[in-house]
């Protein structure tokens, strides 16, 4: 059975200058461990869709099903990572990593052991006593990811999570993050405006139309089982996928 089902989501909201239709009957589903990239013209409602899945925003109609059950509000099984790392400057890296657990009142021996293991396996253990300002952009982003993973989410939502990083850092961090997510077998939805990034990480790419956004296409990406975001950029199929998505997005504008 599907782990996550996004079913017929429609969203419209009221603003000072009128009613805005953001999403128009969006549906898709995902299996465990799958990575889905979402691309679309800017301002098409990609981030709105993520906020709805995260439970931060109620949909006007439609539902989000997790393990076949409808989700209302913020669900502990869903983790959400924003564009900025939002590490709190007054907390050490260790305390930052425990932040999510603290908010959920889940700090105990088992969860701290998990947090420690994550920091150790992803190269931040020696920096646990440091403060965010003492870390590089890539390390900060990794710490933010560990903060989310420490709460053991089954589904991770990434909202342009790497766009604040410079290009080189971004390539290494996406590679790191991809490995971490695959190893932890976490189902991931990533919203991005960067087409190469969407192809290099996604098992599938969901292409949205302009606002009100509809599903234009759900594209299967196949680079074989041994892929990583860096190696598949050199694959001849990469540019074919790129051209395809580019054309789809352009024909829309």
């Amino acid at each position: 059975m599907d782990l996550l089902r996004v079913q017929d989501i429609t969203e419209s909201y009221q603003a000072e200058n009128g009613e805005i239709f953001a999403l128009d009957h969006i549906s898709f589903s995902m299996g465990k461990g799958e990575f889905l990239s979402i691309v679309g013209p800017s301002g098409c409602g990609k981030s709105t869709l993520l906020s709805i899945i995260a439970g931060l925003l109620p949909p006007s109609s439609g539902s989000i099903l997790l393990d076949g059950q409808e989700v209302h509000g913020v669900d502990p099984r869903i983790g959400y990572m924003l564009q900025k790392d939002n590490l709190l400057e007054w907390r050490s890296i260790w305390k930052n990593v425990l932040f999510g657990l603290e908010v959920r009142r889940q700090v105990n021996e088992e969860t701290t052991r998990r947090a420690r293991r994550l920091l150790q396996s992803y190269g931040l253990w020696e920096f646990r006593e440091k403060y965010p300002s003492q870390l590089s952009g890539g390390m900060r982003q990794r710490a933010a990811l560990i903060r989310t993973l420490a709460t053991s989410p089954e589904i991770l939502l990434l909202d342009e999570a790497f766009s604040a990083l410079d290009y080189q850092t971004r390539l290494t961090v996406t590679d790191d993050v991809y490995r971490i997510l695959k190893k932890e077998r976490i189902t991931t939805i990533m919203v991005t405006h960067d087409i190469p990034e969407s192809i290099s990480m996604g098992d599938r790419v969901l292409i949205l139309t302009r606002r009100p956004a509809q599903v234009r296409e759900l594209l299967e990406i196949d680079f074989g089982p041994e892929r990583t975001p860096l190696t598949c950029r050199g694959d001849p199929r990469f540019s074919r996928y790129f051209d395809h998505i580019w054309k789809e997005l352009k024909s829309d504008g």
Partner: protein
């Protein structure tokens, strides 16, 4: 951390050592000049008064101020007046901070209450609170309470506005981040908004300690039987300018010390936070 920087480790380059030495020398020189200037002014005042160039009956003179202090000290009067003023200021200050921060939290919590009270805050903020003196005296009585109330009236609204502004400027993304973990409003306040505003809080404490003192002195001018403000008014009325000057100088020392107390507290809190978080 500063000390570590200024201390010269063994392998320091010659230029660096020279730079540090020069910086230290300059700091000393500035301090020397500051004290020198004070001494010079006091000496000049004394000499001019003795030569009769300035009228020491109106402007007093350092030696007479000194004698006034000595008498007050011997008679034990000094400590009484000092204590009364410091006590009133501290009580007014603490009440102002507690109530001010409390009200700011309430206004941050409820957008509706904040919107409704906005015009009232604007008017109260621009009103010269000293004008409320007679009203305060009639309501709470002509005593210490009225003076503390005056200190409170002067510092309260500033605290509310200052803290509320700080709360509202809290990084929205940080709040959103907490929300993605399902944080409640109270958790968002305790874990994000309040810690982001420690700087704002101390900024407002530094302003408040001065404002409370203004309120206390103004209150003591209106109603009092003791305190530095009382001494100043009394000295003025009976033309004892030595007493006025002596009290004003003590008052400036008190103001500076209380301000430094807040600075010290800030340093302690920051240090504590760095070691526990």
């Amino acid at each position: 951390m500063d000390r570590r920087k200024s201390e010269a480790p063994a392998g320091l380059s010659k230029e660096r050592a020279e730079y540090l030495r020069r910086k230290k020398a300059r700091r000393r020189w500035v301090l020397c000049c500051q004290w020198g200037l004070l001494l010079l002014l006091v000496a000049l005042w004394e000499v001019l008064a003795r030569l009769g160039i300035i009228d020491s009956f109106i402007l007093s003179q350092p030696s007479r101020i000194w004698r006034t202090w000595a008498t007050m000290f011997v008679e034990g009067e000094l400590w009484l007046h000092l204590w009364v003023t410091v006590y009133e200021t501290l009580v007014g200050f603490l009440l102002g901070v507690l109530l001010g921060v409390g009200l700011a939290i309430l206004l941050w919590w409820s957008d509706f209450v904040a919107k409704v009270s906005e015009p009232y805050l604007v008017v109260l903020n621009s009103l010269p609170k000293i004008a409320l003196g007679p009203v305060i005296i009639i309501i709470v009585g002509a005593g210490t309470e009225a003076i503390i109330f005056m200190a409170l009236a002067i510092s309260l609204i500033v605290t509310v506005l200052e803290m509320l502004g700080g709360f509202r400027r809290t990084d929205r993304d940080a709040i959103r981040m907490a929300a993605t973990f399902g944080a409640t409003k109270s958790q968002i306040f305790r874990k994000i908004v309040l810690p982001s505003n420690i700087g704002t809080l101390f900024g407002s404490l530094k302003i408040n300690i001065g404002l409370s003192l203004v309120g206390v002195i103004a209150g003591e001018f209106l109603v009092s039987k003791a305190g530095l403000g009382y001494l100043i008014v009394y000295g003025g009325q009976v033309f004892k300018l030595d007493l006025v000057m002596a009290s004003v100088i003590i008052l400036s020392a008190v103001a500076a010390l209380m301000y430094e107390g807040v600075v010290l507290l800030q340093r302690l809190v920051m240090k504590h936070r760095a070691t526990t978080e």
